[in-house]
Symmetry: C2
Subunit: 146 residues, 2 copies
C-alpha cells in the first residue's frame, strides 16, 4: 500500500473542523496546545482511570479508595483526587464529625467521561490477543536479528 491506509479512518480532520481547530500538519499543534492534552493525560494516568472506575460503583471514603484501588499509595491517591476534583470530575464532601469522614463521588461530568474511556478499555480487551501476537513476533524477529 503506497498512499493511503487500507481502512478509511474517519474523523480526525472532520472532528477538528467541527470544533474550529486549525489542522496544520496533522492537527498536532492543535492537540498539543489545548486542554485536550490534560484530559488524555488523565486517561493515560495509571491511577485516575482506576479511581474513576471504582467510584462508578458509588461514593467511597478515602480509606475505601485506598484499599479499593490496588497498589496506590496514600500520597498518589490524595494527589489524584485533588486533580479530579479540580477538573470537576469528582466531588469531595467533608462530614464535620470526629473522626473525620470524607466521601468522594463521581460528578455528572465525571460520569460522562466514563463511556468514552470504557470504549477504549473495550478496544484494548478485544485486541489484547492481536497485540500480544504482534509483540511476540516483533520481539523474536529482533532476537533473531540482534
Amino acid at each position: 500500500m503506497t498512499t493511503t491506509p487500507s481502512t478509511d479512518v474517519p474523523g480526525v480532520r472532520e472532528l477538528a473542523a467541527r470544533h474550529g481547530i486549525p489542522v496544520d500538519r496533522g492537527c498536532a499543534a492543535a492537540e498539543a496546545t489545548s486542554e485536550v492534552r490534560s484530559v488524555l493525560d488523565r486517561v493515560g494516568d495509571k491511577w485516575s482511570v482506576l479511581i474513576l472506575g471504582t467510584l462508578s460503583g458509588g461514593p467511597q471514603r478515602f480509606t475505601e479508595l485506598l484499599h479499593g484501588v490496588d497498589g496506590i499509595s496514600q500520597r498518589m491517591l490524595t494527589l489524584n483526587l485533588r486533580q479530579l476534583e479540580r477538573d470537576g470530575l469528582v466531588s469531595r464532601t467533608v462530614h464535620p464529625v470526629v473522626p473525620p469522614r470524607v466521601d468522594y463521588a463521581l460528578t455528572d461530568l465525571g460520569a460522562t467521561l466514563l463511556p468514552p474511556v470504557l470504549a477504549l478499555v473495550e478496544w484494548a480487551l478485544e485486541n489484547t490477543g492481536t497485540i500480544r501476537n504482534h509483540r511476540d513476533g516483533f520481539d523474536s524477529r529482533r532476537a533473531a536479528a540482534g
Copy 2:
C-alpha cells in the same frame, strides 16, 4: 445499590463481565494487571496520539513525522514509533535506496484504535469550557483559603 451517582454510569461491571474479568473492589485489579494498561498508557502518552493522528492522513517518512509532530525530539519519535510498530499499530517499510527512505503508516489495527481515541478527544473538546470553569473556581477557592 444504595448510593449511586446521579447519572447512571453504564458499563464498568457489565464490560468486565462480558470479558470474563473478575470485578473485585471496583475492577481495579483487573485493569492494573492486564495489557489494558499498556493501551491506556499509549493514549495518555503525549506523542503516540499525535503520531497516530498525523498518520491518519496517510503514510509519512521519518523526517516528515519529525517536523509534522510539533516539538517531538528525534529520540522520542524513534522510541514511540518502535512501540507502535511492536504493537502492530503502525507499519514500517524500509526502501533500500540511498539515501535511506522509511515510510510509516497506520495498520488496519491502528486504524481501529483511532475512533475510540477520537471519541475521547471529542469529549475533551466539548467539555473544555466546563473543565476550565471548574479549575478556575477550585483555584480561586484555594487562593482565598490559603
